[in-house]
């Protein structure tokens, strides 16, 4: 431990817990634990999630319209896609072995952990920016491309090659590449890229000024939903619970190291770490209902939404950020 590491962690933890964004998440968890009937209407929650994706996509596109594309961007994209294919394999092996799940369910869970959570990423971007380690704009594109590979990987793990018939394979691939969050993220990214800073000026009061406030209310809802599901859950054993903590720790470290090794700046390496650490709970569950309807949503949703997601928001983003600073600062890995 270098002296630089200790304080970084303290500050991180403190900042995290006085940020309204995180406090609203905690409020949601507490309200659900107290069995309050507080609830955000479904349409509002969906609207907020579309807003957050459009805003983050636009912001990333505008940032890249200024910085321009570079080799780093391509490398980051390749690193993200590779991680999306490889991480599910580790996860699958762990979940089948230590977690004692059957093949179908293990594949479904692995797909979740290989894919990403937009809200976790967005929260991390806010926290990293606040800590003076902003991540690069192209990381939004990395995020969008990381949504899908793990779905394919998880499916192959669950079913093996060739098990799917042609029709449902086409259906799957379509879902994988044209699911609503991929389309909206990449579409908004492209619009930001085309419009640039000037084009964005017009709409920035809506997409920029409101961003953190919307994130607060959205995380309030996520806290409510995550905690309610946790309380009702029966399908998740302690072994699976442990995996839902262990995987984001390991994947977060792997992603951060990967990012640092391929030459990303500190903030972007941390963001890649967070992407690897995060588990999908919106896009992938929908894909799994389609492709692996026999898998139990009670398992994969509870793990990703009720355990991994809060762990990431409350603890792991801070850890990953500190770890990224440490390995970048030490110069140990990237001389």
């Amino acid at each position: 431990m270098t002296p630089r590491y200790g304080p970084a962690m303290d500050a991180t933890t403190l900042q995290t817990f006085t940020s309204p964004v995180v406090l609203f998440f905690v409020l949601g968890i507490l309200a659900a634990l107290a069995r309050s009937d507080l609830a955000i209407p479904e349409a509002i929650a969906k609207g907020m999630s579309l807003y957050l994706m459009a805003a983050i996509g636009l912001k990333g596109g505008v940032a890249v319209s200024e910085s321009g594309f570079s080799v780093t961007v391509v490398i980051a994209l390749v690193a993200g896609i590779a991680a999306g294919f490889i991480l599910p394999i580790l996860a699958f092996w762990l979940i089948r072995g230590f977690g004692r799940l059957d093949r179908i369910n293990a594949g479904a869970v692995a797909a979740h952990y290989g894919s990403i959570s937009v809200v976790t990423f967005v929260t991390a971007v806010e926290i990293l920016e606040f800590q003076g380690k902003p991540s690069a704009g192209y990381m939004v594109a990395v995020m969008a491309t990381m949504e899908s590979p793990a779905i394919l990987a998880g499916l192959l793990l669950a079913r093996g090659f060739g098990a799917e018939n042609g029709q449902s394979m086409r259906e799957m691939l379509h879902e994988v590449f044209f699911n609503s969050s991929v389309v909206l993220l990449l579409g908004a990214f492209a619009i930001g890229l085309i419009g640039g800073t000037d084009g964005f000026a017009d709409v920035s009061p809506f997409f920029e000024a409101g961003f953190k406030g919307v994130l607060c209310i959205f995380l309030l809802d996520m806290g409510l939903i995550a905690a309610r599901r946790m309380m009702d859950s029966r399908a998740v054993t302690w072994r699976l619970g442990a995996i839902a903590i262990f995987l984001p720790l390991v994947n977060g470290a792997v992603g951060t190291i990967l990012g640092t090794v391929v030459g990303l700046d500190v903030g972007s390496a941390a963001a890649l770490g967070v992407l690897c650490a995060s588990a999908s709970y919106i896009a992938v569950p929908a894909a799994m209902r389609l492709a692996l309807p026999e898998a139990d949503p009670g398992i994969y949703l509870t793990m990703s939404l009720s355990i991994t997601f809060p762990f990431n928001v409350l603890v792991n983003i801070g850890l990953i950020s500190a770890f990224a600073s440490m390995i970048a600062g030490q110069g140990g890995l990237v001389p």
Binding site: A39, E42, A45, K46, S49, D221, I225, R228, R229, D232, S233, R234, A235, Y281, I282, A283, P285, A286, A287, R289, L290, P293, E294, D296, P297, G298, L301, L305
Partner: protein, 102 residues
Amino acid sequence: MIETVIRKRIEILSDVALVRRVTDAIDRADITGWTITPVQSGKGRDGHWREERVMGTDKVLVLTIAPEDKAMALAEDIAPILTSHGLLLSMWDVQVIRGERF
């Protein structure tokens, strides 16, 4: 007095993600149409409320009215995936006016 004829009314509870499979089956059974109504929450064998509506696990009711033979064909067609896909199907006789429409 107005004349009514008997048709089967079928209601299938389905995950939103799987609705296409259900409506494709209805089309295959050559039934004239269907109507989808929203579902708010529920409890099943898993023993828990479903409220994670953003999560892609929300459900809907697909309702269709058809002559008995087509209804049975639909039930037959869809039966194999009822359990694996977690669908719920019930049907009963109803009177309709303009029977030639169904």
